[in-house]
């Protein structure tokens, strides 16, 4: 059999011997040997390449039989020759990426034949044997991290306040502002100054609020804001922007306004306080249309700058020079009745809540809003209880710690602590260092180390 002898010749040349001594080799082995032979032996290249390079099966014969004609459709050599896609590519003159990669591969494998320009190497290139120090690409969450770097998340709420004093001040301020607006017959839900740019000195403002703004509760239980100085009211009124300026403004700002409105509407939809907002808007519209006092307009015009049209939902920047702990003089007085002011009026409640949310960044869940009837309850939702102290902290503050024969540890007493007390730890460290082992943790190249990259 001619094919068999040829197979045998090739097989013997490439030292492929069948164990049983028979001349049968399977298809895979035949393929391997052919390929190996082709690679190593240049002489085999001159062997008459079969029409069916994929093997030595006479597929043509079967195709003719199947199709029942001399010229079966399809490619001449569907298995051996390059595929349809490759052929098309070749026609178009586009490079085959796989092929080029293979070329690169093969070229790199043979260091003697390496070309200088193929891979980026510097004069200090040293081929790595381990992955230490190499850039990691494609690990878990790598894609997410890449995205996050380029598109960092910017929330629309301010970062949450943690300090109890700040929260109390914010609630008081919101109350004062809303009630001031109410007394000035303004719509209650307004755009407040973003970043408090209007207020020259926030501290001063807060100080004045603490001193001068008082609430009195009359016989019916309604709260009234009593301001010692009317200037405060004007400041508050001046610092707000009405939500719509549809009538008298410039044309350039119309687009801005529309854009602003759109954005706001979007956010309103998200927040889900649609109906209230729209209602407020209508009210605002109505009231504003009615009271177009000249006193307001210039102020409105003043504020009509791009910066001010930013909604107050933007995060508060670090311009506010508030210290981390508010000094006592800025805190609203405790004996004031402001904590008992009724918030049953939905308009006032929602205005106050909105302003509080803007100032503190803390959202109150909808089910809880219904139960909030005065600022005291509101504060309960805002001010979190302090985390329960660990027992060790209690003990250290106790009289037990004062005794000379008592030792209190905050953390677990480990064998390393014991060794340190005894003085053996330094010797252990030295010995481990001598052997190149870490003093704590697993061996070098541990899984935890790898994940921390």
């Amino acid at each position: 059999m001619a094919p068999a002898s040829r197979i045998g010749a090739i097989a013997s040349r490439t030292s492929l011997h069948t164990t049983s001594g028979s001349s049968y080799t399977c298809l895979q082995c035949r393929l391997l040997s052919y390929r190996a032979a082709q690679k190593s032996n240049s002489s085999t290249k001159h062997l008459p390449s079969r029409r069916h390079a994929s093997g030595f099966i006479n597929t043509e014969k079967w195709r003719k039989k199947i199709w029942g004609s001399e010229n079966p459709p399809g490619q001449e050599d569907p298995y051996g020759a390059p595929g349809a896609l490759d052929q098309r590519r070749r026609e178009q003159g586009v490079e085959d990426p796989e092929q080029s990669a293979k070329e690169v591969e093969t070229s790199v494998e043979d260091p003697d034949d390496v070309e200088e320009d193929v891979t980026p190497r510097g004069p200090h290139y040293k081929r790595a044997t381990t992955w230490e120090g190499l850039e990691r690409v494609g690990y878990r969450n790598w894609g997410k991290e890449q995205f996050d770097e380029n598109y960092p998340f910017e929330g629309f709420m301010d970062p949450k306040l943690e300090s109890r004093e700040k929260i109390v001040t914010a609630v008081h301020r919101a109350l004062v502002e809303v009630f001031a607006l109410k007394q000035a017959d303004f719509p209650l839900v307004m755009d407040y100054d973003a970043g408090d740019v209007f207020l020259d000195n926030v501290d001063d403002f807060l100080l004045r609020l603490a001193k001068e703004a008082r609430f009195e509760i009359d016989a019916t239980g309604e709260g009234h804001l009593v301001l010692e100085d009317q200037e405060l009211q004007e400041i508050i009124v001046g610092s707000v922007t009405p939500r719509e300026d549809a009538d008298e403004e410039d044309e350039d700002s119309e687009d801005d306004i529309q854009y602003v409105e759109e954005r706001e509407e979007d956010r309103n939809l998200k927040e889900g306080e649609n109906s209230e907002r729209l209602a407020q808007k209508e009210v605002g519209d109505a009231s504003r249309l009615e009271t177009s006092s000249p006193a307001i307009e210039p102020q409105v015009v003043e504020i009509e700058s791009p910066a001010e049209f930013e909604t107050s939902d933007q995060p508060v920047t670090d311009e506010i020079p508030n210290p981390s702990s508010i000094p006592d003089r800025l805190l609203p007085p405790v004996d004031n009745h402001w904590r008992n002011v009724s918030l049953r009026n939905p308009e006032i409640k929602f205005a106050v809540l909105k302003r509080v949310m803007q100032l503190t960044g803390i959202r109150i869940p909808d089910p809880d809003i219904a139960n909030i009837t005065n600022p005291k309850l509101l504060l309960a939702h805002l001010v979190k209880k302090p985390k329960p102290k660990k027992l060790a902290e209690n003990l250290l503050a106790n009289e037990v710690a004062e005794l000379p024969n008592v030792q209190i540890w905050e953390r677990r007493y480990t064998p390393i602590h014991k060794e340190k007390e005894i003085g053996r730890w330094k010797i252990i460290e030295q010995e481990l260092e001598k052997r190149g082992l870490p003093a704590t943790g697993d061996r070098i190249g541990s899984r935890s180390e790898a994940l921390n990259v």
Partner: protein, 436 residues
């Protein structure tokens, strides 16, 4: 006996010192310390700020430490890390150690003994070479005090005790092995390695290499290492180490237990560098646990004396040392008791001793019992029983001798506790054992 005015001369122990650590001792530190590290020794709890006091005996050449370094002082952590590089814990750590306070209370030490001194007693010279911060000076004082109290207690109780037995009794009460046992009974643990970060309540010393430890790099044990041959001179002559001295000379020239003193005070006076040599050797080779414990107990004795006075020191001795049980009769070892007894009787003017059978049974049987008494004339000096006549006679002689040597008066007055201006009756002390 004139009371030693030691309290006044204990300057090196008690008064606050603000001396920089010696440059010589810098080599002891693992990393070279900044020069402005000051260690203090004081009776009062050491504070950084209060420690800068001018010492009266500061030499004029020495510069006073400035206050600047306290203001430029490193952070708490840095300070702690610097302090931990000292060879022994800083005295200010003494108050932070619960172990130390517990030890102080367990031994019911007088409140005038401060924790810093107790911490100092726990530091062996092999851990810290600086004599201001180790227990070497205190232990010398304590050794002498213990020797004094023990010897007078033994002698006053058993005035006729032979010298060898007296040495053995001294060794039993305040010898190194006993003091090591005492250290264990007090619950004092040993630190694995000395250092500034070690809890001050631990006994700190550099451990000598164990005999069955293997020499680094080889499989040979330390005890199996061939001893470097010293030239064999044969029997040592008078004056050379190892020359066997008689008992009489040992009462003068040996230490409290009759053992030879390797390097005497005279040797150190002649060649002062020997002291440094000794210290260096201890530092390099280390000491046994027994030695370290001995130094600790002696140092504590000295510290109690210095801080709390004579009475407190004697009470400490009585409570911890003298209260221990020792059967004196088990310390004797006779070679020829009959001969000793006959010489003794001759010396004391008794009639020469005669052994007589008091009773016997089973003479021809497999297990006879003979009860023999030794008589000087009509007085029975001693009695003994045995399974042979000889054995019984020897036991009788031993009994007689023990009866003589272990005489104990009913009332024991110790010279060191004699009151000033009180009636002092001299204690009876015998001439010693019979010379054969």
């Amino acid at each position: 006996m004139k009371a030693l005015r030691l309290l006044r001369r204990s300057g090196s122990v008690l008064s606050p010192r603000t001396r920089p650590c010696c440059f010589i001792h810098q080599t002891q530190y693992r990393n070279p310390l900044p020069l402005n590290i000051f260690r203090l020794q004081s009776t009062a709890p050491a504070q950084y700020q209060s420690a800068i006091e001018r010492e009266d005996d500061l030499e004029p050449g020495e510069t006073e430490p400035t206050e600047d370094f306290f203001h430029n002082a490193p952070t708490q952590e840095e300070r702690e890390s610097i302090l931990s590089q000292l060879p022994s814990p800083h005295p200010q750590h003494a108050h932070k150690s619960a172990r130390l306070s517990a030890l102080h209370a367990r031994l019911m030490l007088p409140p005038r003994l401060p924790l810093e001194t107790l911490a100092r007693c726990l530091v062996d010279p092999s851990a810290d070479i600086d004599p201001h911060f180790n227990n070497s000076s205190l232990s010398i004082l304590g050794y002498d005090l213990l020797g004094l109290y023990t010897s007078e207690a033994v002698l006053c109780r058993h005035p006729r005790l032979p010298t060898e037995v007296m040495f053995a009794a001294m060794w039993a009460y305040c010898g190194p092995k006993t003091l090591a046992a005492i250290t264990r009974e007090w619950g004092v643990e040993v630190a694995a390695a000395p250092g500034g970060e070690v809890d001050p309540g631990y006994l700190q010393c550099k451990h000598i290499e164990a005999g069955n430890a293997s020499v680094e790099g080889t499989g040979v044990q330390v005890k199996d290492l061939p001893i470097l041959a010293t030239d064999p001179k044969g029997k040592p002559m008078l004056g050379e180490p190892g020359w066997r001295r008689g008992v009489s000379s040992r009462t003068v020239k040996s230490d409290h237990f009759g053992d030879e003193i390797k390097r005497t005070v005279l040797d150190y006076a002649e060649r002062p560098e020997l002291r440094q040599e000794d210290l260096q050797r201890k530092l390099e080779k280390g000491v046994t646990l027994e030695t370290a414990s001995t130094n600790f107990v002696r140092a504590l004795m000295g510290a109690v004396y210095l801080h709390a006075g004579k009475k407190a020191a004697y009470n400490f001795f009585k409570a911890h040392i003298l209260s221990r049980h020792l059967d004196f009769s088990k310390l004797f070892e006779f070679r020829q008791p009959t001969r000793d007894l006959s010489r003794l009787c001759a010396r004391e003017g008794f009639e020469s001793p005669v052994a007589r059978i008091l009773s016997e049974t089973g003479r021809k049987s497999r297990s006879p019992v003979f009860v023999v008494g030794v008589f000087a004339g009509k007085d029975k000096l001693g009695e003994g029983s045995g399974s042979s006549l000889d054995e019984a006679r020897i036991r009788a002689a031993v009994g007689a001798l023990k009866g003589w040597y272990l005489y104990s008066p009913l009332e024991v007055n110790v010279p060191s506790q004699a009151e000033r201006g009180g009636n002092w009756e001299p204690v009876m002390v015998d001439g010693g054992e019979v010379v054969v």
